[in-house]
Symmetry: C2
Subunit: 351 residues, 2 copies
DNA sequence: ATACGACTTGCAATCGATTGCAATATGATC
DNA sequence: GATCATATTGCAATCGATTGCAAGTCGTAT
């Protein structure tokens, strides 16, 4: 090759070949063919002679060569990466470490792996949720799965309007432009409540922060079950409790201090339920004899708890699959419906 | 522009501009400057007139434009993504769902976010661990963090030989070519054991699978503590227990059925410990009165357990930071030492 | 009026792959 | 032996950005 080379990009040439990342041109040179042929061979094109193809494939494998993802996706305009976003609460500066969300991440990782997708995991400040779109705008991911809609209904709608491929784990809301996958929270709330009522409990305290859509729906189910039983719920028993340990402890303390009678607690997460049970135990109340408690989520450790926790199961594995399925549909240009997954009550020992 | 255009790539032009992903050329056209200028403006180059820069930046922001990551990393040969790998056990076809690993993922996500890196999360079949290198070979990630070395010491060494930037959460081993970050397992094992001995326990059962390097070291500490106290451990009390619930249950059943006396259990994970405690309770043994139990990891739920679990804390947050730090050093061309993080005993109610 | 330097901006090559079309080799057909 | 269809392979443009160098503008000193 004559002096067509410029002195522009110099670093490359001077490095010892060994320490450079292998690229298609290297394979081509070693195989004595052109880059096009290597590209086609590795893509399994019919155009390439079977022997050549095999030879190139073997060579590439033996050298541990793999195609540069950036270059490939640049040229083909596609990639196989999905962004999963776990919003973190900047207000409390605390990381969303609820085991339920973590297990959802695990389930998503599996579902994506099954389908040959990679997962880009981001924690994003819930206040700057729009930063999420960057993951898509930069072409890093073909779509976004958000775990938890929290208080961000409007922002999510805005994102959907911008035509961002996004699916959200959460509740279905009226006026919702984005696709959600979630459990049947009304049913879940109703099931747990009806169960407690059936057990003869009449003063069931609700522990949850109804600003969150999912919790609001569970509250709705809670009230519905009472209504069906011809009962009304005193305001005192509807406690606004954040998904945080001290919040649950404070609420329990409030009930006890104010001497508000209650014989059951419907907690909106298993962690809340466990905190409540431990708090009750600390003041000498027995579970479920004095107070029955149900949780929500059915995290793995609910079975390990003592007494084993009665709870409403969220189908994490199905959820992971469904979230991925719906997202891929959106990516494929469809506009899939939101999905509501079946929810079931798991009665164990705390109720 | 004259007829220099070919009919090759046609899709692009015909699409309504709205549905196409915005690119630098669009911004350039709208701002009435060249692509180079936009590139420099967005990169904050001093070469660009401040007003122009501001104008372009505003335009880009208002249009929600962000630079295509693939093209950028192709050109600059760098990117800000780290792959985190959670091996999954293909033998049992079971997903590694231990809360400890999940919380490590969370901690890594935080540590990476702090440093402006994205996290690519993969679950990889432990049998085909070499697939991991693909994440690097394809240029998708600048380096790899493996959570758990399991039984793959040799494969990890091989990867290090291939000069893959990789850091592993696990134990330091002799002849180790890769960088690890881990707790002081020998110390951890010794601390818990010494504590149980101090409490007057003399027949402590060890629950763990010593094929795993970390567990082997905990066993070493376990034996060391006995030795220091002038005691020896009967073989019967060293039980090989996998990180799985049924395995723990079976081991406990074996102890009881064979009427092997024991007054304490040192379990190599909190999940194991909880399983043991529940099993003991099922047969009417009291914890810690009849049998004291300590776990390992100090997962968040250890505090929620009843009785609250005594355990050896693994510093998950520091671990995340350290793993990231070491990896970035490797990426920067250094060859950092392995890190051993401090380990402490947390005495709660089960011992 | 000319020249020179300081600022700004644009041109065009480049990153590592993919792919339409042209080019070549091979064998079959007449 | 010339022609043509078929099977393989290579050339060169392209994806969306970055960046060295050239070129342009403007003010001012000569």
């Amino acid at each position: 090759m004559p002096d067509k080379s410029s002195k522009r990009e110099k670093a490359q040439q001077e490095l010892p070949a060994a320490s450079r990342r292998l690229q298609m041109a290297d394979i081509a040179r070693m195989a004595g063919v052109s880059v096009s042929t290597v590209s086609r061979a590795l893509a399994g094109s019919q155009l390439i002679n079977e022997q050549t193809r095999q030879r190139i494939a073997d060579l590439a494998r033996s050298l541990n060569y793999s195609i540069n993802a950036g270059a490939q996706s640049l040229r083909t305009r596609q990639n196989r990466t999905v962004a999963v976003v776990v919003p973190l609460d900047s207000a409390t500066r605390q990381h969303v470490s609820d085991p339920f969300f973590l297990s959802m991440v695990g389930s998503l990782a599996d579902a994506l792996t099954e389908r040959g997708y990679d997962m880009l995991l981001s924690r994003v400040d819930a206040e700057h949720l729009d930063a999420v779109s960057r993951l898509y705008d930069t072409g890093r991911a073909v779509g976004i799965i958000m775990i938890g809609q929290w208080l961000h209904h409007d922002q999510l709608n805005a994102m959907a309007l911008r035509r961002l491929p996004v699916v959200v784990w959460g509740a279905q809301l009226p006026q919702q432009l984005y696709c959600t996958v979630g459990g049947d929270n009304v049913l879940g709330g109703a099931l747990a409540t009806a169960h407690l009522l059936e057990r003869g409990r009449r003063r069931i305290a609700f522990f949850g922060d109804a600003r969150f859509p999912e919790v609001a729906q569970r509250l709705e189910g809670f009230l519905l079950a009472h209504q069906r039983a011809g009962l009304t719920v005193p305001e005192q028993l509807k406690l606004s409790v954040a998904f945080a340990e001290d919040s649950a402890r404070a609420a329990l303390k409030h009930l006890l201090d104010a001497q508000i009678a209650f014989d059951a607690v419907f907690a909106c997460s298993d962690l809340l339920a466990m905190t409540v049970i431990n708090g009750l135990r600390a003041v000498g109340k027995r579970v479920p004899d004095d107070v029955a408690v149900t949780g929500y989520d059915d995290i793995e450790l609910a079975r390990y708890f003592h007494p084993e926790l009665s709870t409403v199961r969220q189908p994490v594995v199905d959820a992971g699959r469904a979230l991925v399925d719906q997202l891929l549909k959106i990516v494929a240009g469809e506009t899939p419906e939101s999905v509501m997954l079946p929810t079931e009550l798991v009665v164990r020992a705390t109720s």
